[in-house]
């Protein structure tokens, strides 16, 4: 490699330029242009028009529902993820790899299949359908279904981020706290949580991004009823299909900004976690 580049050091050979051009072109086509285009389309008719879309009832309701779903699912899976991570990282038990694999299931199953699983279980024809009908409780094509589907696809994020951190820090500090008289709860708050906080926050962030952005699983269970079961990603698709491209792109910008924000915070958190462990 070294001889190659030093042999023609005065000017880069044309092959290198071609490679760079291909890489940049590919990134531009696949990543950059689509992202820029979303913003361009959203603001094509001016900033006022962009803001105008947010006054529409359907859009507001979709934003509200998405926030509501995240508001329920993120705390739920944060608590679950913490407990799961603690149980897995702090207790030796038989079948640990199997439990970890099960925890990873939502990563490997297509979201559409996940949605379908919910329908087959909780839908009218599903296993639990008759019981739910008896109590007159609607899951599928209603908000509980969206919560379930979203909870399913975001299940592993927190545990997956926290387990390696817990394993890395080991049990010494927790044992030290115990010998100093701290009970489990005091150990968790004073020692464990401060040590895992950046990893935990990163997991929460990923959970939130996915909870707000999930389309596949939600679209199967939600039924896409405007102002009732339409989340923001469903709203984007619906608007686009009805040629309301302005609204579609405006909502997309919102979701896109969420993504950008997540990435920025992720970068910051990863640096903090890295500094902590070295």
């Amino acid at each position: 490699m070294q001889t190659n580049s030093s042999g023609s050091s005065s000017s880069k050979p044309w092959s290198q330029w071609v490679m760079i051009a291909i890489a940049v072109g590919y990134l531009a086509l696949v990543l950059l242009l689509p992202a820029v285009n979303v913003f361009y389309q959203a603001f094509a008719k001016g900033f006022g028009a962009f803001l105008g879309h947010f006054a529409e009832g359907d859009m507001q309701s979709a934003i509200g529902l998405t926030l509501f779903i995240a508001f329920i699912v993120v705390p739920l899976n944060t608590v679950f993820g913490l407990f799961a991570a603690w149980a897995i990282a702090r207790h030796p038990f038989r079948g640990k790899p199997i439990v970890i694999s099960i925890l990873d299931l939502p990563f490997s199953i297509s979201p559409v299949v996940a949605g379908l699983m919910m329908v087959l279980l909780y839908g009218q024809q599903g296993w639990l359908g008759p019981i739910l009908q008896f109590f007159n409780f609607k899951v599928i094509f209603a908000v509980p279904g969206i919560v379930l589907a979203t909870a399913f696809v975001t299940l592993p994020f927190v545990a997956r981020e926290v387990i390696p951190v817990l394993e890395e820090i080991g049990m010494d500090e927790e044992e030290a706290a115990r010998t100093l008289g701290a009970n489990n709860w005091q150990i968790f708050w004073n020692v464990t949580l401060p040590n895992i906080r950046w990893g935990l926050l990163y997991g929460v962030l990923l959970t939130n991004a996915r909870a707000m952005g999930e389309f596949g699983a939600v679209s199967v269970v939600a039924g896409n009823i405007a102002r009732k079961t339409q989340t923001l990603p469903l709203f984007v698709e619906d608007s686009y299909k009805q040629y309301a491209t302005g609204a579609a792109f405006s909502a997309s910008v919102l979701l896109g900004l969420l993504g950008v924000l997540t990435l920025v915070l992720k970068e910051i958190l990863e640096r903090k976690t890295y500094r902590k462990t070295t």
């Binding site: 008289g181 005091q186 040590n195």
Partner: protein, 338 residues
């Protein structure tokens, strides 16, 4: 009695970490648990702390049965090999932790933290974070933190194991002085016999989950209870009992092997009735001592230590023929592999 361990056994899967261990540790003493890795010494310490529970047997702390008492209730101080300081807290807050958990008044905590910082010679470093301290300083913070709650017993798990040789030596002497000041019953785990000899009042020698011997440093060195203790503490030559060197000098035993320390070999230039001839194969200068590697006429190899004075007197060289006899030799009924 400070700590009493009665018939304690502990098993991890198929590994018998402790096998019916009995130990009694006097209040206010400084005791070393000495043994090779896997001998069960750390497990015994963690059992005393309550970080593990025994499969069988009982543990008494200051006379009270603590076998099933929780770690928190035992009021012990524990120092870990890798310090286990709370990384996100300052030195001051690390030391205050146990007192804060006990809800002591803030003013009292503050006063005690300053006292302890003085005691461990870290006054002025209270606002540092553990990552800003050297290894030796971190271990002293860990000690101050453990002492802060005025524990009934202080337990240290290879406390100097992660430090470099110079710091380790300093800290050893310092721990001894500290113990003379605070007088808390202290048990520390080590695999370093020199460390155990230097610091402790009593040594508990452990091997394969059993206690081989309990005694003062002089007792375990001069009167080892087993072949294991003799070979683990200090250098030793192991020779068959029927070797000529023992027959000529009148040492005999029903056991097949005899143990003799390198400094218990008398070296002469002229033969007499109780010596056997040997050849000096190699001379190594250890400074204050000369190590002579010898080959006996029957092919047995052994090592003798001569004082500088004696060496200069004899003026021996490599390959010279000399005459040796044991001043002391021991044998033990059962032979353990190390």
């Amino acid at each position: 009695m400070g700590i009493t361990v009665q018939e304690v056994s502990k098993r991890f899967g198929s590994f018998q970490a402790l096998d019916q261990v009995n130990v009694a540790i006097e209040s206010g003493s400084l005791v070393a648990l000495l043994g090779p890795s896997g001998s069960g010494k750390s497990t015994l310490l963690r059992l005393i702390a309550g970080l593990e529970t025994p499969d069988n047997g009982k543990i008494f702390l200051t006379g009270k049965d603590a076998t099933y008492q929780s770690v928190q209730a035992r009021n012990i101080g524990f120092v870990f090999q890798h310090y286990a300081l709370f990384k996100h807290m300052t030195v001051r807050r690390n030391i205050a932790f146990g007192m804060e958990i006990r809800k002591m008044p803030a003013a009292k905590i503050q006063r005690r933290v300053e006292e302890l910082l003085d005691l461990v010679q870290l006054a002025g470093l209270g606002d540092r974070y553990p990552s800003q301290l050297s290894g030796g300083q971190r271990q002293r913070v860990a000690l101050a933190r453990a002492l802060a709650v005025e524990p009934k017993v202080l337990l240290l798990d290879e406390p100097f194991g992660a430090l470099d040789a110079k710091v380790r030596k300093d800290l050893r002497a310092w721990l001894r002085r500290l113990h003379d000041e605070v007088h808390v019953t202290t048990v520390f785990v080590t695999h370093d016999q020199e460390e155990a000899m230097e610091v402790s009042d009593q040594i508990v020698v452990m091997n394969k989950g059993r206690v081989e011997q309990v005694g003062t440093p002089a007792q375990v060195y001069d009167h080892p209870a087993s072949a294991f203790v003799m070979s683990f503490i200090g250098p030793v030559n192991v020779l068959p009992t029927n070797s000529r060197i023992f027959q000529e000098s009148g040492f005999d035993s029903a056991n097949p092997e005899m143990f003799l320390r390198p400094h218990d070999i008398q070296v002469e230039l002229q033969p007499n009735a109780s010596t056997v001839p040997a050849r000096v194969s190699r001379l190594i200068h250890l400074g204050w001592e000369i190590q002579a590697e010898l080959v006996l006429d029957d092919g047995q190899e052994m090592v003798a230590h001569l004082t500088r004075e004696r060496f200069d007197q004899l003026n021996i060289t490599e390959n010279q023929r000399i005459h040796v006899k044991p001043k002391d030799a021991k044998s033990f009924p059962l032979y353990y592999e190390i």
